[in-house]
Symmetry: C2
């Protein structure tokens, strides 16, 4: 299996991605995993980074690209002015069959647009969704986590189906419980779009829809799949990220610093750090775009080498599960909703 890694366009320099690739490579060997990594980006920079890591300049195949997509670029730029960028070339390598999966930490909108246009969607799927497994009391697959900022009822209902297949086939959850993220548990809660989506999901007899789920209950084993639009999903995840960092800072200052400083010798900071790491999205590995015809994994924008390694491992796992084939086999029965359904 071949994984192509876009080493440019994340918040960190390309050398951090090369380091992540080296970590993943070493893990492949340790775990006897038959996979290899192709690096996509500026060849000179990559070789220099390998040299600084005292690794052979030839340990990875390299696909050279001078250009790259920045976080500020328009999503469509990936097929226009940045059509020769590292992200675009990595995606094309997969669509050409020269690699099995693509990993990038770059601009989410550009990666989503590029992946949709270059890899295409599975037949019957209206929109792919960025799907992330949240490591709570019981793992929750949240989708969409930021790709589709504007959605329709149809997109949301299809996200429920995509998530249900993923949790059943990849995570082995029988009849996954589908929840709709909303501002209240009652069916009449939320915007008109959410009220209508709740109604359509209740009518979908082949889904195990359990109703609306509030953001304060997501952590506590309420559902296996959490359906949301990309705007709201982003706010939920980033709120969790911000608050856990804020708590970490407070614990470090108030429990370990100042008058509590003496306690630092009694309890290990690492105990607290370990707990709070649960909420560090860079630890989650990458998130696949569910519904695409080829595996594309989005790593967190500020991924460090460890996060890059996790995302590469996630790509290997994603290819291995064959979930794309599972979705392909059942996407024909995904509902198509056309009445009064425009993006909101």
């Amino acid at each position: 299996m071949k994984i192509i890694l876009d080493v440019m366009g994340g918040d960190n320099p390309a050398s951090e991605f090369v380091k992540g690739a080296v970590l993943a490579h070493d893990r492949f060997i340790a775990e006897n995993c038959d996979a290899e990594i192709i690096l996509c980006g500026n060849e000179r920079v990559i070789r220099e980074a390998l040299q600084r890591l005292r690794r052979s300049a030839d340990m990875f195949a390299i696909v050279h690209a001078e250009d790259y997509v920045t976080m500020e670029d328009d999503p469509m730029s990936i097929v226009q002015i940045h059509k020769d960028s590292s992200m675009s070339r990595a995606l094309k390598y997969v669509s050409d069959g020269k690699a099995d999966a693509c990993v990038s930490a770059g601009n989410t909108g550009a990666l989503f647009t590029g992946a949709t246009l270059i890899e295409r969607r599975i037949r019957g799927v209206r929109r792919a969704a960025l799907a992330m497994v949240l490591p709570y009391e019981c793992p929750v697959l949240a989708l969409d986590c930021g790709a589709n900022v504007s959605v329709t009822v149809e997109y949301l209902v299809q996200f429920a189906y995509l998530g249900s297949v993923y949790m059943e086939k990849v995570m082995g959850v029988e009849k996954p419980r589908i929840g709709l993220l909303n501002n209240g548990a009652e069916a009449h809660k939320g915007t008109a779009l959410y009220v209508e989506t709740n109604k359509m999901l209740r009518e979908a007899s082949d889904l195990n829809f359990i109703g609306n789920v509030e953001a304060k209950d997501v952590q506590f084993n309420k559902c296996d799949v959490l359906v949301t639009d990309g705007f709201t999903g982003n706010i939920m995840l980033k709120s969790c990220e911000g608050i856990s960092k804020f708590i970490m800072d407070k614990i470090n200052n108030e429990l370990f610093g100042g008058i509590g400083g003496k306690l630092s010798s009694l309890i290990r900071r690492s105990e607290v750090a370990k707990i709070l790491k649960t909420f560090d999205v860079t630890e989650y590995g990458g998130a696949p775009f569910l519904g695409l015809a080829k595996p594309v994994i989005k790593a967190h924008g500020n991924s460090d080498a460890n996060a890059v390694m996790n995302a590469v491992m996630q790509a290997v796992k994603y290819v291995d599960t064959g979930v794309i084939e599972y979705i392909g086999a059942c996407a024909d029965r995904f509902p198509k909703i056309v009445v009064n359904d425009k993006e909101k």
Copy 2:
């Protein structure tokens, strides 16, 4: 000053509200505060609760109401089948000038609808907003926190003005920094509604608009006022509530329980509990509906006696600040936006 407290319709029984009123009453005395509390609800239940607390049955004036609004009731029910409920009667007491402020922990939608129809809005204000001060590194006033699930560009722009006046006049912040909660910092991020709102806020030269703010940055002194719609605001707050409870549980189990149990004698649980209490919304006191012509304070649905006391104290403070008069004096210059602006 007279504060009328709706003792029914929260998640906890009326007796908990009576207990909260007693706590607030005792604090008034301790702090030499010239305020009194009127209780609104079932008179028999209130007198029984006072008796159980070994307090005089006559320590509070009581406005009797048999009926109450439940969390499941439709918002409009407060002026229809529940027009004689404790919530409705408490609101009318204020509009009739018999009390200076109303506090309720009941159904947010019903309280918002009732408050808008009974107290009315300040002239020039299109929609009142539920405004909450978040106790982060630097306090952030977030609005709307759940009253207006569907909004227009005009509502959001007006929320920015309401919040700016509040932070300047009540919290003493000079030129409050206004941020727009969004899924990315760039001006083109978000739904069409948010892109347009960002544009209008940039054009509002009398506001100190600093641009979009991501949910992961709200905690870290990025802005003084955070503008959002009620749906998104609810998701943000409830995400923080859920994740902080989840962290609390994990710390209790992993740091104090099991093999780490022996540590419990070395560090006090209360240190951690104190930190995490920062994120307990029941500690925040109540949230005012900014933009109404009379003070109405929403307490958290699951308020305990302590939270009720905090909400009553917040009501006293809110009346004292005279913020309603400040808003009244400048609401005429709030922008009115009519083009292409329908609720989304």
